[in-house]
Symmetry: C2
Subunit: 334 residues, 2 copies
């Protein structure tokens, strides 16, 4: 099985990936659906880099690119599908190609990614799971290719790194992340303005929704667990939905003493999306597995069917079980 995967998906080194990019032409660069700063920053930095060395290239995103990225994301030329070189950046799984899945999933020539969960679907893969972001890898590729980096490219790269590290806050940051960022400061970056857009700007609708959601806050298990509810009514009333709601899950873990933050978002009459954020030693993926979902240690999710009371009870039971296991595990007297 291992050999089969190897035969299908060739693992490239940094140097080989740079050589691949220099050798081919007519690039179609794909981002993942519900695009974030890393997939977009990586795609556009690669696009500008390839244009610099005379290649034909375009960026295709499965969804509309949010306006806030317009300081680096612009509409690009069209590249004909026939004979094109297809590169997917920050796309760990073909499922994440969304609306582009059917057209492209079987024909990705190169995949550049930093997710350890990468599904190895492309013909060639440059994967570095130690990198904070795919943008970090694109920076190293551009340096390896000796491509000129301009101010816009630097802004795109900075956006990718800042997005995936929560502006240098998370545990995926290391010395290299800061060294690369120091290099990017040599350009006209205007990082403070980028960070303001990415991290410190909320829509009126979101502020309104956050107020409603905070009113639903419940605390369980000696305040070690906070539970927030986002009903369909709240989403309708405020017009807030989709990626705008991502910040809510972060709030659920931001209260002193809370180890498990649960957000239950209504997606249909009797259907709820559960988002879980935990701090060590609690493993969010273990909890969500019990609910038929999955994810990472610190962030996981699941879709649960039932009334809101059913869903709450199911989630709280799962949290309690894993919490008790974690407590028992850390009890050194046993």
């Amino acid at each position: 099985m291992k050999n089969k995967v190897k035969a299908e998906c060739r693992m490239l080194t940094l140097r080989k990936t740079a050589r691949f990019l220099k050798k081919h032409d007519n690039y179609i660069i794909l981002t993942h659906a519900s695009p974030d700063g890393d997939t977009l920053g990586s795609a556009y930095a690669l696009y500008y880099g390839l244009k610099e060395i005379g290649k034909t290239a375009c960026v295709i995103c499965p969804d509309i690119i949010p306006k806030k990225y317009d300081y680096f994301a612009r509409s690009t030329d069209h590249v004909a599908g026939a004979g094109a070189t297809v590169v997917a950046v920050d796309v760990a799984d073909t499922k994440l190609l969304g609306a582009l899945k059917d057209e492209f999933s079987g024909i990705v020539d190169l995949n550049i990614d930093h997710h350890i969960s990468n599904m190895r679907y492309a013909k060639n893969l440059y994967l570095d799971a130690d990198a904070s972001s795919t943008a970090e890898l694109i920076y190293e590729l551009l340096i390896q290719m000796k491509v000129n980096i301009n101010d816009t490219t630097a802004r795109a790269l900075y956006t990718g790194i800042a997005t995936d590290t929560g502006c240098f806050k998370y545990s995926n940051v290391n010395a290299k992340t800061h060294l690369i960022t120091a290099e990017l400061y040599e350009y006209d970056l205007n990082a403070a303005e980028i960070n303001r857009k990415m991290f410190d700007t909320k829509s009126h609708a979101l502020i309104e929704l956050e107020k409603m959601v905070l009113d639903t806050a419940e605390f369980h298990f000696d305040n070690r667990c906070m539970l927030l509810t986002v009903t369909a009514e709240m989403q309708e009333k405020t017009g807030c939905s989709g990626t705008e709601l991502e910040g809510i899950a972060v709030i659920s873990r931001s209260v002193e003493g809370v180890e498990a933050g649960i957000t239950i978002k209504q997606t249909d009459d009797n259907e709820y999306k559960v988002s879980l954020r935990t701090y060590p030693p609690l493993d969010a993926s273990l909890i969500c597995k019990k609910l038929g979902g999955g994810g990472h240690k610190g962030a996981a999710g699941a879709s649960v069917v039932g009334t809101i009371e059913d869903v709450k009870a199911k989630v709280l039971t799962a949290v309690k079980e894993v919490m008790e296991e974690a407590d028992a595990g850390s009890d050194t007297s046993k």
Copy 2:
């Protein structure tokens, strides 16, 4: 006048400051009142550095040190006042020494600071207003002194830099900030845990207060201005006060399109503290000057007496005036 200032306060270079620190002994290191991560991180990093080279030293803070800093801030030895070398770190003005002002304001031997507004009250001053934080300067001093940096010192320095840069978000960050931080990652930093404590943890009481405050939100001047009110009743009801309320002012500027965020906090029956946060080209200090206060371009404050309606009207008038001046200034057709 310039000569007089020079005669009273000797400006030191990095090298001379390092020499000063190596030459003297029996250090009393002072932080500013309402201590934050930069004054504490700087004081303790300097303390650990001086201990490493065999000096006697202690840290004195005018207020109780918040518990969240206990990963580097520990109780230190006592140093007798007579014959002591007094060093104030991150203290721009003797007023900021709070309860220690009377005892120490005339006898500060060395002041290490990064505030351009520094009042030059000490006998010797090492000032670098381009540095993101005083902690950045302490790092450079320890390197210059060839002092061994340990994990706790690195954590203290990281805390100082992260605090004053909003975790690398603000415009005071430059390439050097990231280069120094990369060096700190060579130690057992646990930066993600530090950042969680510093930036992502709110008390239950604060969450409660934020909900109440968001309910008071008013928008003015085509939504370019947001006004939040914190009444004495809210503070009593939640038990939230003092430095815990600092985050509220940040919220006031976080809404899309808002250029001026106003927070009006009741301090007495007919007295209110106005906190203002603005984005360029609006100058918060100009607005607060009209109210008898002052501050920086992006953040300023004033105390205003009157009923809440009076205070709101005064503040909004001042904002409107400065907003109109800024609009006229940016109108290139004139």
